[in-house]
Subunit: 257 residues, 2 copies
Amino acid sequence: MSKKESPDISISEQSEVFSLAVDGMGGDGAPDVVVAGLAIAADRHPGMRVLLTGDEAKLRPLLAKHPKAESICTIWHTDEAVPMDMKPTAALRVRKSSMRLGMDAVASGRARGVVSAGNSGAMLALAKIVVKTMPGISRPAMAAISPTIKGDVVMLDLGANVACDWRNLVEFAVMGEAFAKAVLGLPAPRIGLLNIGSEELKGDEKLRIASEVLRESPLASQFHGFIEGHDITAGTTDVVVTDGFTGNVALKTGKGC
Amino acid sequence: MSKKESPDISISEQSEVFSLAVDGMGGDGAPDVVVAGLAIAADRHPGMRVLLTGDEAKLRPLLAKHPKAESICTIWHTDEAVPMDMKPTAALRVRKSSMRLGMDAVASGRARGVVSAGNSGAMLALAKIVVKTMPGISRPAMAAISPTIKGDVVMLDLGANVACDWRNLVEFAVMGEAFAKAVLGLPAPRIGLLNIGSEELKGDEKLRIASEVLRESPLASQFHGFIEGHDITAGTTDVVVTDGFTGNVALKTGKGC
């Protein structure tokens, strides 16, 4: 059974740690699609515990239609939500948005992660300000798993960071490698740096420096070097590292129309 | 019949203007593939006149095997060629390469254009130094025609300019529009600027400025605004303008493995 909690109850009083916080109001199809998705998740992972944030008056009837979803969810009610077209700076000022409550839950240790299908710019801004990055990681990235002729590839960044320096690229490699290990279950994922040619002299300075740094890093044995656009679907590497602008264009070009 | 000319004969003595100069020694399959291609061109355009640059001892027997190619070609002999892996700065110092002779022919008015399947970095450097750009155009670009679900699209730059500013992007729009008119035969090609979203606030400053400039330009009525990766194959516009890094990755990603 789901129960209602108030988000301002302290951790000591409410010690349950949720597997995930889910933004019930995030995305074009919310909240219907979110709850329908939670029903699928509950079917696959009946032991998971979800903190569902959003408008209880809307969420409760939907959960009633999806008893499996209801069985894994606890609602944290809020009237506020971040619209899809709100600028990130404005979204940061909505103190009790459904997205923000999920972020707060992660920051306070009440949830292990947060999921939202909503405004991605707001999501990244909140992640950076509320949840913050791990030590040594300066900026969050957006990653996706894409199919290749050999299996799956993790690609990042996909648009969180339009401009990147060599340090960002190295950090994306570190995060992408960890993601591929954890999510794809690969023992030693191979990492490629997206460029316009595989020769060492191709590309710009940030790519050449990132490549040099990775060759001297603990990830050296997994670093394949530069790859090109066609290597993404060829599955040349398990992780494709690029800046957010190029990654976004490559992802959408690859998907086609 | 083909005949041999010396490249140092003055224009007054040899007044013929060639439709094209073709680098006989450029590309992995040269000179065989080049001459085979010329035979196809001769079949389609029997009236064209080609200035074929390269090693006559190699070109002559190939032309003998392709009489149609022979009928449109005049050889300018040189022993020198630009290897595929030569740096552009080094290629500029090869004074009589087959690629350079073709460029010289354009610069002196002996040929209306030059084609080479060889080292693209050398090609661009020579084009910039020998042929030079038109007034108002600061840098050459590489363009390609790609299929879409509606027809063809002209995309540029594809790798000549790894880093671009807003001025370059505007110039690419001007060149791409002219190319689409001349080659695709479109009366008023639609121009799109590749970005990570279609909203005005997306992307970086160079994209926003280029967009503003195009909206105030004589091309304003043909300027669609920002497009995304999936718009390339969707045929949303007839011309896709982007920097050389993004264009190269998008082209190769779209082609796939």
